[in-house]
């Protein structure tokens, strides 16, 4: 189609924390500043800003995109806040791509921020204002109901056990040991996960990622600018996003069709025919351990129900053939919703440049895919990066 080539040239992030002292604006600035410094650009060099931040209910500020503007570097600049629930983090990476690819801008700063600790008495409480106000919220559902249903359905459809799934949590928390910004790195065992407190069967405490505060930022540049800035640009090769119906009873939860549709858009654009072979690193969204497997199947990295086997065979370990969540993912680094999505894109950026330090995946990876999921089991957002 002759699209304009767009590269990521810089990345930055804050620590992920259960409670940050910083305000949301300050978190945004800390991440954005590091991202700009990393490619030796200043705010003057930036054409536009894209903000990704999930529900207003977390930071507890109505119109919070506008509120965060100055911290994200949007002062007197074109500024848009994109939003697809939990899938926002990777979506804004897509959105920033078409800001630059449209030819309107040569550079774009994309910032994702979340300060969930502002939501009291517990961030999870705010989810009750998410569901259908007429037919769902009055039943007093917790967020975990949906995940538990989906996990149950997934296990039922393929005969997968809780034990097989628990290994995801073990792997990701261990991967996070090497991430200096991680909130919950740990060496745990499958038994620890299985024996942790049951929250909503089959979901147990260690199946779940923590709530977090944090921010991540990336700098995008068009080809001619990127080449001046760096000799190691990471190209955005494919983008895709997709939403399924709002009505949960009309979907079969065992498989994320919306992730598949989003992935197919991105792979088509990137010219990838066999993702299971061509992708070197994947960062599927893992707010719950089963979710990594579920999403990876949606990303067509393996067949339906086959993800647990890849995990068991060590294929998805950092040293395996196709590492999944080498960063440590939401389970290990922390789940600051939108920021976590963008953290996954940042991780690919660092990995493909060979700059991931102790987390570096061996064998000079060339292609990576990051994905986020959101809403009421509805959203798939995907980005494919390559060098």
């Amino acid at each position: 189609m002759g699209m304009r080539k767009v590269a990521i040239v810089g990345a930055g992030m804050t620590k992920f924390m259960r409670r940050a002292h910083e305000t949301g604006k300050e978190l945004s600035w800390e991440a954005a500043k590091i991202a700009l410094d990393s490619c030796e650009l200043t705010l003057d060099d930036i054409g536009c800003v894209v903000m990704g931040t999930a529900p207003d209910a977390f930071d507890n500020i109505h119109m919070k995109g506008d509120y965060l503007g100055d911290g994200a570097g949007a002062w007197r600049k074109p500024y848009i806040r994109g939003f697809v629930g939990g899938g926002t983090g990777v979506f804004v990476a897509d959105q920033a791509w078409y800001h630059v690819a449209s030819g309107l801008f040569d550079t774009c700063l994309v910032v994702a921020e979340e300060k969930m600790s502002s939501a009291m008495p517990h961030p999870q409480g705010n989810f009750i204002t998410c569901w259908d106000m007429f037919t769902e919220s009055p039943l007093g559902p917790s967020l975990l109901w949906f995940f538990a249903w989906e996990m149950n359905r997934y296990m039922h459809a393929h005969g997968i056990t809780e034990r097989e799934i628990a290994m995801v949590s073990v792997k990701n928390k261990k991967n996070a040991m090497d991430h200096p910004a991680a909130q919950l790195p740990a060496e745990i065992t499958v038994e620890d996960v299985l024996n942790s407190e049951v929250m909503a069967w089959p979901v147990k405490r260690l199946d779940v990622s923590p709530t977090s505060d944090g921010a991540v930022a990336l700098v995008y540049a068009a080809e001619h600018v990127a080449k001046r800035i760096t000799d190691k640009p990471v190209w955005i090769e494919g983008v895709g996003w997709c939403l399924d119906t709002f009505y949960v009873g009309q979907r079969d939860l065992y498989y994320p069709k919306y992730v598949e549709y989003a992935a197919r858009q991105a792979y088509d654009m990137a010219g990838i025919k066999e993702p299971s072979k061509e992708i070197d690193i994947a960062e599927p969204y893992d707010p719950f351990d089963y979710k990594e497997l579920h999403n990876a199947e949606g990303l067509l990295l393996c067949g339906k129900g086959e993800a647990p086997k890849l995990l068991a065979d060590g294929v998805t370990q950092r040293t395996g053939r196709q590492p999944w969540c080498p960063s440590g993912g939401a389970l290990g680094v922390g789940n600051a919703i939108a920021a976590t999505g963008l953290m996954k894109v940042a991780e690919l950026f660092w990995q493909l440049r060979g700059e991931a330090g102790k987390r570096q995946v061996p064998g000079k990876p060339k292609k990576g895919v990051a994905q986020a999921w959101g809403d009421e089991m509805q959203v798939g957002t995907v980005i494919v990066l390559g060098i």
């Binding site: 305000t23 300050e26 200043t42 003057d44 209910a57 507890n60 204002t129």
Partner: protein, 168 residues
């Protein structure tokens, strides 16, 4: 053939919901606790309000590059994005940059006595504080008028530690 639309007012019925301290009562029909926001002041806000609380002093941060002093203070300059670390004390003497006389309260009810609200800017400072102005009648307020902050005796570290601004 499409199903019938709503044609009778008597058929319409709204469904109520809330996001308030009465959340559970309104929606779940149980005396549940409400949802609320808790906001830390952040790195700059913490120091700013500590100064107000402990010393009744207004402080700002300075951007050397843009030659601007921020009140409320920031840890970054919104214009050039540099980190700001230099703090300075601001004289408690400002000027009304603009004001309004509000005749309505937050619930939308008319006030018996209107409230004067103003943005007070300080000399040489980029920014200022939004607050009430008292000890003056609504007819006499003017843009450009000099005012100073009146602090509470017992302060807790909040914008409400300033009771109001009064004319000098």
């Amino acid at each position: 053939m499409p199903v019938e639309k709503v044609t009778q007012v008597a058929q319409t019925k709204p469904w109520y919901g809330a996001l308030s301290s009465k959340y559970g009562e309104a929606l779940l029909k149980t005396p549940e606790p409400g949802l609320y926001g808790q906001y830390t002041y952040g790195i700059a806000g913490e120091r700013f309000f500590r100064e107000i609380k402990d010393n009744a002093k207004i402080t700002g941060t300075k951007c050397q590059k843009c030659n601007l002093i921020y009140v409320p203070p920031r840890i970054y300059c919104e214009r050039c994005f540099e980190g700001l670390e230099e703090w300075c004390e601001i004289e408690n003497k400002g000027e009304i940059h603009t004001y309004t006389i509000s005749w309505v309260d937050l619930d939308g009810f008319r006030l018996e006595e209107p409230v004067i609200l103003a943005l007070v800017k300080f000399d040489g400072v980029y920014g200022g504080l939004v607050h009430k102005v008292e000890e003056i009648s609504a007819d006499n307020v003017k843009i450009g008028m000099k005012v100073s902050a009146v602090f509470k005796e017992k302060r807790e570290g909040s914008i409400l530690d300033i009771k109001y601004f009064k004319p000098i």
